[in-house]
Amino acid sequence: MSPTIWDGFIALSEELAKRTASEAALRSAISRAYYGIFNHARLYYTSVTGKELRSNDGRIHEKLWDWYKENSNRDLRRIGSRATAFRIWRNSADYDKKYKGNLRGNAEFAPKQARELRDWIPMK
């Protein structure tokens, strides 16, 4: 799929984050932003390694971010570290009955964070 789709996820996240009266919208803002950066990062991983991480691979999130965190390139390690924190937000947003943390703040920061991380991923 085209990277523009994943940018669309991030743009959608920004719209959802403005709907502050809706907990579902705020949680979705976090989730969409996470998947925006996750898929950008996955495309880069594939372009470098020649390998596909498939969604039916049970540990896809862990494997992807571990590859970044263990990379010799410090910038990629930074992406992996921050994305792992982002993954924690997304886990709580999508699975927890009560969101752990500052939902409104995290929803507002999520699209910003996703754009920053996307911009740090080298062009290939």
């Binding site: 907990e23 570290s81 703040g105």
Partner: protein, 166 residues
């Protein structure tokens, strides 16, 4: 001695762990919390209720590293026992965090289990700061450059750092 804590709506400062530490030090099993505006409608961001409902306790013995508030101390201690180098890593993190975020920053530890399809678990280190988003991200970059990026290859699957800012 009874701890009576008054939380004012929207005041995140009052919700910080040091306030709740007072609760955990009490001889009473529960604390009494009064809300200054009981009829207020609380927003999702008014998350101090979480702190009150749980048992943050300062790490003050040899099971967990010094300088942190710990949620679920036994669970964190068990994780650190399974991964012995983690305790020294967390102790060396404290001055690095203080240099990047200032000594007023609050450092919390908890054990986190991922519930997504990948699963896994880690220790989550949350740095709570009064800085705004841009300042906090700048401080995080400083911490990463000065310390964390040299450790993340080895410990990145065991420790996750997140920032909670204004």
């Amino acid at each position: 001695m009874t701890d009576l804590i008054e939380l004012t709506r929207g005041s995140r400062t009052n919700a910080r762990p040091q306030t709740v530490s007072g609760l955990s030090n009490s001889n009473l099993p529960t604390g009494i919390v009064t809300l200054s505006v009981p009829s207020s409608r609380f927003e999702p961001s008014d998350y101090f209720c979480v702190y009150v409902a749980t048992s943050w306790a300062p790490a003050n013995d040899d099971d967990t590293p010094h300088g942190y508030s710990v949620l679920g101390k036994a669970e964190v201690a068990e994780f650190l026992t399974t991964h012995p180098p983690m305790k020294a890593l967390l102790e060396e993190a404290v001055p690095a965090i203080d240099r990047a975020f200032g000594r007023a920053s609050i450092k919390r530890l908890e054990r986190f289990r991922f519930t997504d399809e990948s699963g896994g678990e880690c220790v989550l280190l949350t740095i709570a700061t009064e800085k705004n988003y841009e300042e906090a991200m700048h401080a995080l970059s400083s911490l990463e450059d000065a310390w964390w990026l040299d450790r993340v290859c080895e410990f990145g699957s065991l420790l996750c750092i997140q920032v909670e800012c204004e």
